[in-house]
C-alpha cells in the first residue's frame, strides 16, 4: 500500500539504482535451478532493476527460515514444507512452482519393486518425517517397512538388495547408473500425493510492502526459465564454474529428466511455474489427514499467482 | 666487616614490627598446630625459632606472612592487623622450607622475579641479581634450570630470591639446613652483614642451636603438642659477631641452656 507506482515498474533501470535481491535455493548450484541462474547470467534480473544474488543451499540450510527472517527475499522449498510453514504461522507465500509434480522418486534394485504395494517388507531410506512417505504408508497400508534415515549416502542402499531409497529423479538414478547399479524407480507423484517441487516463495510482508520487487523478480525468473529450456549451454558453463563437481553429462541428464516436470503437465498449457488451487487444496487436505498439519486456513492465502500471470503477460 | 655495622643504642628503633596476641591456629582437619602464642618483635630484631619437628614454627611464619588464616587471636605487622586478603601493608620476603622455584624460569629469572614487581630499572635489576647470586655462590649458574641444580643449590637460589629485594622483614624457614658447614658459615656472615646494614627484622627457623645463638639477639624456644612458645631467651652477645664468639664460654652456656630447654 505504501509508495507503490512511481518506482521502476519493470522497465530498464539505471544500473546504479539496482535494488538488491537475494534468492536462497535448496542445494548447491545445479541445472534444477537453471532458469534462475540463466536469468542471472543473461542479465534478465539486471534488466528488471535487480542486483540479484543467488545463494546455494545445502544439506541443512533451511531457506524457509532464512527468508522468514528477512535475510533473503526469495527461496526454494517443497509444497509440503510450505504448507507446514504456514501451519506453524510462518507467513510464506508461494509465487510459482518450478516442478509441476514432486520430483522425488523411490529407487529400488531392479526387479524388486513394481508398485507401491511392493514396498511392504522393504527397508526404506527417506528423510525423517517427510509428507509423501507418510502418505504412501497410509495410502498403501504399509505396515512391515523398516524405516531408516536418508543421510545423502547411497552406499547402504546399494549394499542391500532389499532396500529402497528416496532420490531426486534428476540426480540419484544418474549416479547409480554411473556406478553400474541396476535400478527401478517409482515416482512419488504417481502415488496420488499431489505436491509441487522447488516452489519459489516469498513472505507476505514482501508482497505487501514491495510488490514491485516481487514482480521484477518473477518477470526475470520466468524469462530465465523460458530461455533456459532451449539455451542451457551458457548457463551450464556458469553452473559448472560455481560447482566444479558438475559434469556435462550429469547436467544433460538432469536437464532432460526435469524438462518434463518443469515444462510439461499444467505448465504446457499455462506456462512455466503454474499452480492450481485444487492441487494446493489436496495437498493441504492430505497433510491434515496425516496429522502433519492441522491447518484450517483458506488455501488461497498460501499461494499467489498474480505475479506469475503478470510475468507471463509481459 | 665494615665500621657502620657497629650499632649504637640510639640507632635502634623501638617500633614494633610484629605483635602476636593470644594467637592460635587450628587447621581444617582439626589439628591444633599453634596455641595461645604471645610474642612481640621489635624493628631490627633477629629472632630465631627452635623447637621439635612439627611444633608449629612454619605455621607461625605463615600466619605472620598472611599465608594462612589465624584461627584465634591477632597479629599486628608494622602496626597493622593482618588480614590474609590484604596485600598492601607488607614489605617482607620469605624463604620457604622448600625451595619453591618456578620450574619454567632459569635461576637468574627466578631470582629476579621479586624485582619485576617493583619499578626498578632493568640495569639496576641485573646488578642486584648478579650481586645476590654471587653472594650465595651461584655465579655461573644464571642460565641453569631449577631441575638441573642440587638440593642445596636450589635452596640457595631461594635465599637469593628473598635477599635480592632488600625487604624490611625477612622470614627464613630453615634456610641453611641443606648446606654444608662452609657454605653455611659464609651465608651466616653475609646474612648478619645484610641485616646490620639494612636494619631489617629477621625471623629465622633453625634446628641448629649454635646457629640460633650465633645469629640472633633473641631465641624463641617452642614446645610441641600443641605448639607453644615456651620461652624467649635473650642473647646478650654484641654484634658484629665473628668466629671468636663461637668459642666464648658465654656462647657455650647459652647453647647449653637452650639445648636443655629443648630436651624437656
Amino acid at each position: 500500500a505504501c509508495g507503490s507506482g512511481e518506482e521502476n515498474s519493470g522497465a530498464e533501470a539505471d544500473s546504479s539504482e539496482l535494488e538488491e535481491a537475494k534468492l536462497v535455493t535448496n542445494w548447491f548450484a545445479q541445472p534444477e535451478h537453471g532458469g534462475n541462474y540463466a536469468a542471472l547470467v543473461e542479465g534478465m534480473y539486471e534488466e528488471e532493476g535487480l542486483e540479484m544474488e543467488i545463494e546455494p543451499g545445502g544439506p541443512e540450510i533451511s531457506a524457509t527460515q532464512i527468508v522468514a527472517s528477512g535475510d533473503a527475499d526469495f527461496g526454494y522449498t517443497s509444497g509440503e514444507d510450505l504448507v507446514i510453514a504456514r501451519d506453524e504461522g510462518i507467513p510464506l507465500v508461494a509465487i510459482g512452482a518450478i516442478f509441476q509434480e514432486s520430483p522425488y522418486v523411490l529407487i529400488s534394485h531392479e526387479g524388486q519393486v513394481d508398485s507401491f504395494e511392493d514396498l511392504e517388507g522393504k527397508t526404506v531410506f527417506t528423510a525423517t518425517a517427510v509428507g509423501y512417505w507418510e502418505y504412501i504408508k497410509e495410502e498403501y497400508e504399509l505396515e512391515e517397512v523398516e524405516e531408516r534415515a536418508y543421510t545423502g549416502s547411497l552406499a547402504e542402499f546399494v549394499d542391500n538388495e532389499n532396500a529402497v531409497t528416496q532420490g531426486y529423479m534428476t540426480s540419484e538414478p544418474y549416479s547409480l547408473d554411473e556406478q553400474g547399479v541396476d535400478i527401478d524407480y517409482l515416482k512419488v507423484s504417481d502415488s496420488g500425493f499431489e505436491s509441487y517441487g522447488n516452489v519459489i516463495f516469498t513472505t507476505e510482508d514482501m508482497i505487501e510492502n514491495n510488490p514491485e520487487k516481487v514482480q521484477a523478480f518473477m518477470n526475470a525468473t520466468v524469462a530465465g526459465w523460458e530461455y533456459y529450456r532451449d539455451n542451457p549451454d551458457e548457463t551450464n558453463t556458469y553452473l559448472q564454474e560455481q560447482n566444479p563437481d558438475l559434469t556435462e553429462e550429469k547436467m544433460e541428464y538432469s536437464k532432460e529428466a526435469m524438462d518434463e516436470i518443469v515444462y510439461g503437465g499444467d505448465a504446457e498449457e499455462n506456462g512455466f511455474g503454474y499452480m492450481e488451487a485444487d492441487n494446493w487444496q489436496t495437498l493441504q487436505d492430505n497433510m491434515n489427514q496425516l496429522d502433519l498439519t492441522s491447518s484450517e486456513e483458506d488455501i488461497e492465502e498460501a499461494f499467489n499467482m498474480e505475479f506469475l500471470e503478470e510475468a507471463h503477460n509481459e | 666487616m665494615q665500621a657502620d655495622i657497629q650499632k649504637t643504642e640510639q640507632e635502634k628503633h623501638t617500633a614494633e614490627t610484629i605483635s602476636m596476641k593470644n594467637v592460635s591456629k587450628v587447621y581444617d582437619n582439626g589439628h591444633t598446630a599453634v596455641q595461645n602464642v604471645d610474642l612481640t618483635i621489635k624493628e631490627g630484631d633477629f629472632v630465631s625459632f627452635v623447637g621439635p619437628s612439627g611444633c608449629g614454627k612454619s605455621t607461625i611464619f605463615k600466619m605472620v606472612a598472611g599465608l594462612t588464616t589465624i584461627t584465634e587471636g591477632h597479629i599486628h605487622l608494622f602496626n597493622k592487623e593482618i588480614d590474609s586478603s590484604d596485600r598492601d601493608s607488607r614489605d617482607l620476603a620469605y624463604v620457604f622450607q622448600d625451595a619453591t622455584l618456578l620450574p619454567w624460569l632459569n635461576i637468574e629469572k627466578n631470582v629476579r622475579m621479586p624485582l619485576t614487581f617493583q619499578s626498578i630499572k632493568k640495569e639496576e635489576q641485573n646488578k642486584m641479581v648478579q650481586e645476590t647470586l654471587e653472594l650465595v655462590g651461584l655465579k655461573g649458574y644464571e642460565r641453569a634450570m631449577p631441575r638441573e641444580l642440587s638440593g642445596g643449590m636450589k635452596m640457595r637460589v631461594s635465599i637469593a630470591r628473598a635477599l635480592v629485594s632488600k625487604p624490611k622483614l625477612l622470614l627464613m624457614d630453615e634456610p641453611f639446613g641443606a648446606l654444608d658447614e662452609i657454605t653455611r658459615q659464609n651465608l651466616q656472615e653475609e646474612l648478619l652483614r645484610i641485616w646490620n646494614s639494612q636494619k631489617m627484622t629477621v625471623l629465622f627457623i633453625t634446628h641448629n642451636v649454635f646457629e640460633s645463638v650465633y645469629l640472633s639477639n633473641r631465641v624463641a624456644v617452642m614446645t610441641a603438642s600443641p605448639g607453644k612458645v615456651d620461652d624467649v631467651i635473650d642473647i646478650p652477645l654484641s654484634y658484629p659477631r665473628n668466629s671468636d664468639v663461637r668459642t666464648a664460654p658465654e656462647f657455650s652456656n647459652l647453647v647449653a641452656e637452650i639445648s636443655e630447654k629443648l630436651k624437656n
Binding site: 533451511s62 524457509t64 527460515q65 522468514a68 527472517s69 514444507d81 507446514i84 510453514a85 506453524e88 504461522g89 510462518i90 528423510a127 525423517t128 518425517a129 517427510v130 523398516e146 524405516e147 531408516r148 534415515a149 543421510t151 549416502s153 552406499a155 547402504e156 549394499d159 502433519l292 | 643504642e9 635502634k12 623501638t14 593470644n22 592460635s24 587450628v26 587447621y27 581444617d28 582437619n29 591444633t32 596455641q35 595461645n36 602464642v37 604471645d38 610474642l39 612481640t40 618483635i41 621489635k42 630484631d45 629472632v47 594462612t68 588464616t69 584461627t71 584465634e72 587471636g73 639477639n217 633473641r218 624463641a220 607453644k228 612458645v229 615456651d230 620461652d231 624467649v232 635473650d234
Partner: protein
C-alpha cells in the same frame, strides 16, 4: 639492645573456635550466583524476544519452549531416555578405550609413535564419511550410534590421559624403580593416580561430547520412531518447523550434558579432593 621480645604466656583457655561460615549459609552463597545468572539469562531472553518482536519461528520465548516441552512431555521423555542410554554406553566405551589405549601407548614410546597417528585419524576422519561403513558393519540404530558416540569421546580421553601418564614426577618413578615394581604396577600405583587430574579433565570433555556424539549418531544412523532419541526428535521438529519444540529438544540435550558434567565433577572431587590442588577445598 633492649629486651624487645615480650614473653609468651600459655593460656589453654579452651579450644579456639574456627571462624567459618555456617554450612547452610555457605551453601546458599554457592547456589546464588548461578541462580542469578540463570534468571538474568532467561529473563533477558524472554524480554528481548518480546521487545524486539522476534517471530516465534525464529527464536521462541522461554515460555513457549516450556509449553512445547510440556505438551510433548511423553515424546521428549522417551527421546531423552534413549539418548541417555546411547550416550552412557558410548561414553563408557570411550573412557575405557581411551584410558586403555593411553596406558598401552604410555608403556612404550614405540607403541605410542606407531599408534598415535591412527588415534588422530579416528578423531578427525569425518563421521559422515565413514557412517555408511559403520552402519553396514554394526547395523543401524543403537549399535552404530554407540560406536559414533565412542569415536567422538575417545580421543579427548586418550590424549589427556596420555599426557597425564607422561607427566608423572620423575622422583616417583625412581622410587618405584627401587621397589623393583613391574611396569604394570608402576602404571597402576603411580602413573595412573598421578594422571588422575588429567583423566578427570578428559572425562569432563568426553562426557559432554558423548551427548553430541549420540545426537549426531542418531542423525546419521538413527532409526527413529519409538526408539528415536533427541537427535531424531530434533530432525522431526525441524522438518515440522516446530521451533519451540526444537529448542526444547536442544535444551534437553544441554541439560543432559550438564547432568553428565556434574556427575563427573562429583567424581573428580571424590577422587582428587583429598590431595590435588585443583579440587582441594581446604585452602590451608
Amino acid at each position: 639492645m633492649n629486651s624487645n621480645v615480650e614473653t609468651t604466656s600459655i593460656r589453654t583457655s579452651g579450644q579456639p573456635k574456627a571462624k567459618s561460615m555456617s554450612k547452610g549459609k555457605s551453601k546458599l552463597i554457592s547456589v546464588l550466583p548461578p541462580l542469578a545468572a540463570f534468571i538474568i539469562f532467561v529473563g533477558g531472553w524472554e524480554l528481548l524476544v518480546r521487545l524486539l518482536q522476534i517471530p516465534h519461528y525464529l527464536l521462541p520465548t522461554p515460555t513457549a519452549i516450556v509449553t512445547a516441552a510440556v505438551e510433548n512431555a511423553a515424546n521428549l521423555t522417551t527421546a531423552v531416555s534413549v539418548t541417555i542410554l546411547e550416550a552412557v554406553i558410548g561414553f563408557t566405551l570411550s573412557v575405557i578405550g581411551g584410558v586403555a589405549a593411553a596406558i598401552l601407548m604410555a608403556s612404550s614410546k614405540w607403541v605410542e609413535k606407531s599408534l598415535y597417528p591412527y588415534a588422530v585419524i579416528l578423531q578427525t576422519i569425518p563421521v559422515v564419511a565413514i557412517a555408511p561403513i559403520i552402519v553396514i558393519w554394526f547395523g543401524s540404530g543403537m549399535n552404530s550410534i554407540v560406536i559414533i558416540t565412542f569415536l567422538i569421546g575417545f580421543f579427548p580421553m586418550l590424549s589427556n590421559t596420555l599426557i597425564g601418564l607422561n607427566a608423572t614426577d620423575k622422583d616417583m618413578l625412581n622410587l618405584m624403580k627401587l621397589y623393583k615394581a613391574s611396569k604394570m604396577k608402576v602404571m597402576w600405583r603411580v602413573r595412573v593416580p598421578y594422571a588422575l587430574p588429567y583423566i578427570t579433565a578428559g572425562l569432563k570433555i568426553s562426557c559432554t561430547l558423548a551427548v553430541i556424539g549420540a545426537i549426531v549418531g542418531e542423525y546419521i544412523a538413527g532409526i527413529g520412531g519409538g526408539s528415536g532419541g533427541i537427535g531424531y526428535a530434533i530432525t522431526v521438529s525441524a522438518a515440522r518447523m516446530e521451533t519451540a519444540y526444537l529448542f526444547a529438544c536442544g535444551i534437553a540435550a544441554s541439560l543432559l550434558g550438564i547432568v553428565f558434567f556434574l556427575l563427573i565433577n562429583m567424581f573428580s572431587k571424590w577422587v582428587l579432593g583429598s590431595w590435588h590442588e585443583s579440587e582441594l577445598n581446604n585452602k590451608d
